[in-house]
Symmetry: D2
Subunit: 350 residues, 4 copies
């Protein structure tokens, strides 16, 4: 149960609601929203308990939230969350396409890739500088130098940058550089990191864990939201199953399910979800067809020479063709590509 | 390795190829295709072994088939298999939509449903008369009476009928009635049944097992193909994973992967793959976006009163809206709905 | 809810119970047990509904069975089911060890293997004559000839024989030869086959499907029990997961869970559950430690030359060492090896 | 390939080996072992490449290590790693039993529990003070206060303490208090944390991730070993599968597989692996039967009142009975309980 106070509710009115929640054996949790105070009643609620708060002084609305995630739930926030990320909006009619290499490898690589994906119609640039590698002996990323290269690419193309954070110790550095903090699948339940990021106001791209349920993904988002950071984009990136033909199994069901359960924007990563460049475009089209709010795609100028994930990276030409197709599918669903719509090729015969 | 003989190859020429295969320590297997004899060399082949057959009398083409499935492989049969099923074609430009109730419940139910799905644009009618139920105490289907009702629905609407077979003992009966024999997920590796169906010439809809790999699905198809029945449609229907929000997890990757590995048509069942009517249309759009050749969808006039699978069945109105959207997505990929294209609404702004 | 009638209950008394069940909106199902008629009330029961039958004429006991499986449930049959299989008992204090090759390959192979496993302490002989092979081009078993070889091995060693049935069409043949009908993982939900076997009175070894839940395994057993065949042994044989180091993942939890939920005997197949001879003995010891009622183990005289499953087959010496260890662990749990106890080596230092 | 230098090898000799490795296109990595320098050659090695180093000045032994994990591999370190943890040894003949509550709740709770598990025969005390909870609104642990309570329990019982670390920011605090740092399943691939812990010399208990493969678990251990911390205990705690009867699926195969692949000690957590107190003892016996080096078990004085994991916690009496049985199974495998052997009851009839 979530009790949304009126914008002019007094501290005393808030306090009275809290007292009444606690008298019911529940615990109260206050969230300072931009418009008003919201009070969450955490615990098992009984039938009729909502009536207790209706008409209480200072109370605007009472909403039943039956899920363990509260702020993330569409029951609490029925309308889609739409927010701006460096020049485009996520979660509304626009389809966001974040593209770029797995790893930032050099200044020229990231700048040239940024120009290529911008031209093809991407809305943002991705590139890893801290890499979560299975082996301690593998390339671990360029670190801060890589962030500087990303910043330069942003300056040259205007594309906002998205990069993965691995540890709280990198947080101060990362927020100085990036437009969107990416939390990778392996850190989806790194609760200390989630909590720390919840304290910032940098938008977040939260990837689903390899074997996380949809509910666990929403609970991870709740950690960030509860800290006051409300700009969270969820990302389906394939789950681990028995099937080994592809790197992961794209849980396409997760798109409509998440859109049903939460107001947060939902995108899909067809590169990790398939692990093969040959299948990326098909799965990207599927995602947009299913109602995703965007994509994050690995693009590399020379996939064969990539230091990581070359096998699943698209060449710019292939990426450009993919963008064209998803733009057309977006139109079937009354949506459009975020930034590149103006230059997108018209629908064949349209 | 598959050796395709010339259409006028003599038995002696065939025999010489077989001898040479066996001399290499492999086993030979003959398939009588409509055009020519094809000889499969089963076992581990060495580099250069294909050259042995090039230029041999009577040999037309030699193809390297590295997969354990041979006849199902696109290496053996590079072009898409396209075949006709009661009035429409599967596997080409046309998108097939098979729709109807989980179970045939009564004459009026199936006839009225057939009319409704026909009107919405379906290409074929589905309905189970032998039901594989987890519980021995649950409704097990109407049996032959149900087949008569299906036949009547076909007569009234012109829609070909698709129904599931559970056992070899039902085979004679089923082939007298149905246009397409459906093999359910639980029977995908019922090798005796596959072999028996391989002896018929009735088209087959083969569903992927709950935890079958893509390779196992193709090996199951190979059992049917090896018997001489080449009209096999593959169907992704969701796999079993740890995720419990949905009934199964739609492996959307399987669509492009199967289209890559095999020449057989590939469709998707969004009803079983999600288990919730609310998510069926999204996943149907995803399937067509990903390149599927069709769909099989559960439609019920009164889902709440259905004897089985009501939760995942679409009402006709919802189904009709779904058809409209997938028709538009099909056009983006230069395809069209199988039979109902004429009456499909034009693409908005098209 | 299960209503157990008195042994001298009259048909009229039975009928009155049935009427009352149906009046409650449930469906009644009669089972003729050796001692008495049992009536199952299938459907959602309400609190207090059991009282309706207490004290009714002819009613002996009423048991609440909350699971969808009824006859298989320990709620219905609190005591362990113990039954005799060709000379030893399953489900009681004795630990059954069924051993032998994956496939019967020749007369000498099976006879010699039978002698070797008998000497090591096995209680029964396994050997497949109809093989469920993923590929249609792989060895499919010797068929009836193999059954004759098995029968000869039984005659020479006294070991009862266990062999897999793939299809209803093999049923008449199989029941003439085998002591225990094995239903393989791939056929666990071949409901037509289960139903047909339920009509026989031959003991059954029912293997869990690759991705079957424990509840589904019990529902499959229910199909057989409902037909009147009450001698069903359940077998955990590993499930399919993301882990690929081993062929399957042994769900060792299934042993205590099944012993808790059902009265049927439960054994484990460490050969398929691991897929590697090196790991078979460890997992066999684990199974007995966990409380399993027995094992089914693949043993081959020359694993390298086996036509199937050589990699996971134990040599007789290794099998003999395994038997010695599990005999000792059985004693810790106050149990003993079924037939070979007399010749089992004493516990070290015992 | 791992090149173990002689203990008196000179820096020049080491350098020459490194040069030769790099000349082969591989990268060299130096590890300072207590006895000698070890040089790892990372990358794809060719046949015959080992010979290059044989007989080179200063080279003692060359070992082929084909796995991606090097220091963790039994190919590199053939003998079992045995190390001392606060009074008992892990990895040798002794079976370690770590027991205690999920969360430290109060001073009296942890001290009394410590006394109870000590009396029953435990070798170490567990108790969480930083809890990784799915919900941000759930109890998150007592933090440093809890560590003080643990230290007091250690003082009173002599049991070393094991507690989970969630973040690098807790590292300084944790190493001051605990005898063993536990890394939970959700942090198994928190590479920053692994790396930081690798720099300490506190023994580590590394739990397998919910969906981590055995190879990934060993790679995670490699991160710690590569930092110079060689006291790593691996822990199977159940994996996530489709089965929902139990909280997780115990991968019992992992015990013999890990004992085969690595020299590190391997224990099992039957509490998380099953999630039900009723099944814990069975699975604990299975683990010891399979060859595990120990157990970590949740014990609570009043499971119904536990703030977390009550459902899967054993009462002390049940734990005591479990210890008795595993002690007997250990003897079958020529092992014994770590510290409590003296007071362990003799084997019945022994």
């Amino acid at each position: 149960m979530m009790i949304i106070m009126k914008s002019d509710a007094t501290p005393t009115q808030v306090e009275r609601v809290v007292e009444r929640i606690e008298a019911m054996g529940l615990s109260a949790r206050l969230f300072q929203e931009s418009e008003a105070t919201v009070i969450g009643a955490i615990g098992e609620t009984r039938n009729g308990s909502m009536d207790t708060f209706d008409g209480l002084d200072g109370v605007d609305t009472v909403r039943r939230v039956t899920h363990p995630y509260k702020l993330a739930s569409r029951q609490f926030h029925p309308a889609d969350s739409i927010f701006s990320v460096g020049g485009f909006t996520v979660g509304g009619e626009e389809i966001a396409v974040i593209a770029g290499p797995c790893s930032v490898e050099s200044r020229s690589q990231i700048v040239e890739t940024a120009q290529a994906v911008k031209e093809a119609g991407a809305s943002a640039l991705r590139g890893g500088v801290f890499k979560p590698r299975t082996s301690p002996y593998a390339f671990q990323g360029l670190g801060e130098e890589g962030l500087e290269f990303l910043a330069e690419a942003r300056e040259k193309t205007g594309l906002p940058i998205v990069s993965e954070i691995l540890s709280q110790t990198q947080l101060d550095l990362m927020v100085r550089y990036v437009d969107v903090l990416q939390i990778g699948a392996r850190n989806m339940q790194n609760f200390s990191l989630l909590r720390a990021i919840g304290e910032t106001r940098t938008p977040v791209l939260l990837k689903r864990g390899l074997s996380a349920t949809i509910e666990e993904l929403l609970m991870a988002a709740e950690y960030i939201l509860a800290g006051g950071n409300r700009q969270v984009i969820l990302c389906e990136r394939g789950i681990r199953t028995f099937e080994t033909t592809t790197r992961n199994t794209t849980d396409i069901n997760a798109i409509p399910v998440l859109k049903d359960l939460t107001h947060l924007p939902v995108i899909l990563d067809p590169s990790h979800a398939t692990g093969h460049a040959d299948y990326v475009s098909s799965v990207a089209r599927a995602a947009i067809g299913a109602g995703a709010d965007g994509l994050i795609v690995e693009v590399h100028l020379h996939p064969d020479a990539a230091v990581s994930d070359g096998k699943q990276s698209l060449r710019p030409e292939k990426f450009s063709e993919m963008i064209r197709q998803i733009g057309q599918i977006a139109r079937v669903l009354n949506r459009r590509l975020a930034s590149a719509e103006a230059s997108a090729p018209a629908l064949a015969g349209g």
